[in-house]
Symmetry: C2
């Protein structure tokens, strides 16, 4: 499969006007000369099967993605296509998540699912069709979501009496069900989660980051007191934060959203904000303290210990396939994807090297033993033993795919009973170590240590990149300077929503959050000069 040949279709996700176009147009576009303005200018003409095969080979050997340093957005789309993470769907703005991308999602699921269960949540499943009237019940919710709804109006060949919303999120239907399950304080807390698809009719889409349909988990809880709900909302953003740091090596900044940026229907929204390689911010996960907004709208009540009816206090929290986009844009480099070992579907790729046929069986046999040893030790390992590609081609290919470690085994290594190990995160010879013993226990220990080192190193690198790109500001002029130089601005803020809106209009930056980690001492609002209790972080964002 030739990922590079499909590139314009990913580009097309960015351009709402483009819809489906004939396959013939898609097939012969060279990666490097990819038109950035959509498919319309793509070279026409269809290659015959034979010439296509040749072109496939040419493109494969010439598989380099647009360098990240040259064009971040083109690089991002190239990586997604070349690494076969995702593809466009036939409906504008939809995305097919391919096996390699989906495996990253499965790793995310595996980690979070355990954490959710450990903290007392049960998985379940709510229908995705929601009566339109539900959406209208919570005033700010309908305001926030109604422009983005997909509506089912025909079912079984008949016009429906009430149109149905394809869930953009499930607070409304969850509350409808909670009213039937919650009677007394003994039924609380009620803590559930679902893994599901959601639909939001976005106009400007980008693979993983913002698509018409995406996958996520949404947690929903109901509590007897506001304190419990607040504790839950904070606990979940803490779980997301640890996941981001420890598993994906993304040094997110957790904090509270400004009123303007709070979820439609929440009292408080907590967020984790990540700095991408282009220094734009990505909201990577949110946890909402919903107060009693939905329980009042839906009448979700319980009898307390005195028999009094009370509205429950609620939370909801979500992480989506957007996180995959965050991983790509945090760690990737000019060469392509770079995956943190803990989240990498393949942690180690083994490339056997032989020239003569007489060498082949010895090399392959050693490679298989190494694979076996690593696999047994729980390392996710791939042996690339095809003879249709050169070792050099394989090196490039697996580097582009972001595999953290490569093991090379040639005839000389077989003789010396050793291997060569190369780190993806340290390019060239500096990342290459020769003569690592093939003896299973030694090799396994070495590989595991290196994977840990890479994991830490990616986090440190991202952390230092992040910190060197946040500027502390004390005036609006300083803020504007920071933003216009592409950085994040952090400064004391107690100004109005109108002022916040003005910053957005004049600089393109929004308040990403009031970070949990605050500096001590008296603060003066950068905009008004009034006393401020907190610093806020401003940045341009996805």
């Amino acid at each position: 499969m030739v990922a590079s040949l499909r590139l314009p279709s990913l580009t097309s996700l960015l351009f709402p006007a483009t819809t489906r176009y004939p396959a013939s147009l898609r097939r012969t576009v060279c990666l490097r000369n990819r038109p950035l303005s959509g498919f319309a200018t793509a070279p026409s003409g269809t290659a015959s099967p034979e010439t296509k095969s040749t072109e496939v080979d040419r493109l494969r050997s010439d598989r380099a993605v647009t360098p990240r340093s040259q064009d971040f957005n083109a690089w991002y789309l190239d990586v997604i296509a070349s690494a076969e993470l995702a593809d466009y769907g036939p409906v504008r703005g939809t995305m097919v998540i391919r096996p390699y991308g989906y495996a990253i999602w499965e790793a995310i699921q595996e980690y979070l699912n355990v954490k959710f269960k450990e903290t007392g949540h049960s998985n379940m499943y709510f229908p995705q069709f929601i009566p339109y009237s539900f959406i209208e019940k919570e005033a700010s919710h309908v305001e926030g979501f109604s422009p983005e709804l997909a509506l089912v109006t025909v079912g079984g060949g008949k016009e429906l009496e009430e149109k149905l919303v394809v869930r953009p999120t499930s607070e409304t239907i969850v509350n409808h069900m909670f009213t039937q399950w919650i009677h007394s304080y003994r039924d609380l807390p009620l803590m559930i989660n679902q893994w599901a698809n959601v639909t939001r009719w976005e106009m400007r889409t980008k693979p993983f980051i913002r698509t018409l349909e995406f996958l996520w988990q949404e947690g929903h809880t109901a509590h007897a007191t506001p304190e419990e709900a607040e504790k839950e909302a904070k606990q979940m953003i803490e779980i997301y934060t640890r996941f981001a740091f420890e598993h994906t090596a993304i040094p997110v900044i957790p904090g509270r959203k400004s009123k303007l940026e709070t979820f439609a229907g929440a009292d408080i929204t907590y967020t984790i904000e990540a700095m991408m390689g282009d220094r734009k911010a990505l909201q990577a996960g949110t946890s909402h303290n919903l107060g009693q907004n939905f329980s009042r709208a839906f009448g979700t009540q319980f009898a307390d210990e005195n028999g009094e009816r009370q509205h429950v206090w609620q939370t909801s929290w979500a992480v989506s396939t957007r996180f995959i986009g965050g991983i790509i844009m945090t760690h990737g480099d000019d060469t392509g994807l770079m995956l943190p070992p803990k989240i990498a579907p393949i942690q180690v790729v083994i490339v056997p090297i032989w020239k003569k046929d007489t060498e082949k069986s010895g090399v392959l046999c050693a490679a298989s033993s190494v694979k076996e040893a690593l696999q047994t030790a729980g390392v996710r390992v791939k042996l690339d033993d095809t003879d249709q590609r050169t070792p050099g081609w394989k090196f490039n290919f697996w580097e582009m795919k972001g595999i953290p470690l490569r093991i090379e085994i040639g005839p000389r290594d077989v003789s010396s009973n050793s291997v060569v190990v190369s780190r993806r995160d340290i390019p060239g010879k500096a990342g290459k170590v020769f003569g690592i013993s093939m003896e299973p226990s030694t090799l396994v220990a070495y590989v595991k240590e290196k994977l840990d080192e890479i994991q830490s190193s990616l986090l440190e690198k991202a952390l230092s990149f992040r910190d060197s790109n946040i500027v502390d500001v004390n005036s609006y002029d300083e803020l504007k300077d920071a933003i216009s130089s592409g950085k994040w601005a952090r400064g004391p803020w107690s100004a109005s929503d109108a002022d916040e809106q003005r910053v957005k209009e004049e600089t393109g930056a929004t308040i990403r959050c009031f970070p949990f980690e605050q500096t001590q001492g008296t603060k003066t609002c950068l905009m008004t000069g009034n006393p401020a209790e907190e610093v806020a972080i401003f940045a341009k964002s996805y």
Copy 2:
């Protein structure tokens, strides 16, 4: 939560005419007097919180489900409500899968996901919105599915140019993508799977068995030869068969569908057919050899080793949340649910028993140790240590929930360092064993052995029930007798589609399958007297 109070809503799933109705009507319906004709005749009036609480308790202590022997359908709905497996959704025919029901689905996923990966399939995700034009491309596919489609006609506040189908199955969109990924024989076989929700606008719905939206996995593969596709289709039905037998203790009969019952778009459909407790058949999983039907409709081609363009040969196969309904209706009894240990979210429930407060701490301490020992050994165990319920109430409750084994621990057991173990599948004293040592290694071994015994015993029981309800027939009269006595009829068949249709109209039975296991010897068609190559199984079905 009072599952029984919600019953009429489940009943309402059966009656398409009923839609949402005020919560006040739902709350005071007694389980035993549940109106079978829908909610309209339900007693009206709303209980105050206080009286509701009392009624909750009354109903809880009076929680028995309608005996299965008395009314199979009412029993089924009662079990689903009382065991909190599922609930109706607000949109007619939709279902909320509650944590206990969803945990069974997770167990199904866990097993099958491993098998799919072992056999070379990768998970991925396709968008659920399919352009309407796609559905029309394969003639029999559109004929089969168009009456059941849900259509999105409005997105982002605007009428769409082309209406979108909410996927009823994904063959069309899969082929659209396969055309872009498959170029040469080297790209084959392409073997993928997705876990997803699907929507079919069914008119007569029943929880788990037939709902407007359901969860499933759908595998899709493309091959270079018809032989490979056939082998794949058979391999997958074999995996389903083993899963049914070994994991869910359902002795399904695998076989081939008749032409009339073949999937819309397939050349051959393989099926596993299960006999429910009411002797109706349930199609529990299918695997389709799609031939080149979709690849021709979508132009899914590859260049073979000679450079010739060929259409790929395809399969698709699916198992859905319907399987949960099959588990309920295979093993349940008058008391309620009965879960095979391998699929049970809780395999063992521990009920501590004490009368005096002085006994409590010793009993609870022993119960905790037992729980700890079993959990460490990988047994899924629940300790029910609430003091708001009597042990007798707990026994009934967990029996109704279908937990395979119960461990009782009272003060005398603590003194003798032993426990009492009761089997769910053997009622009363016969299933109860006293004096099993609490010593961890002894107890763990005993529990594991009993769980295995229960698993085997459930399968044997279902197998003997199945076999005693299949009648070998040699004439249409015999077939009619068998069907009218509620049994399955198995007999030689080589008659026409029209004859098959006539059987359906006259008896209500359809050909469930031509079983893989065939008797030897010459056969004469039961309908025509002509030579027949195979026996077919006829039955009424869900």
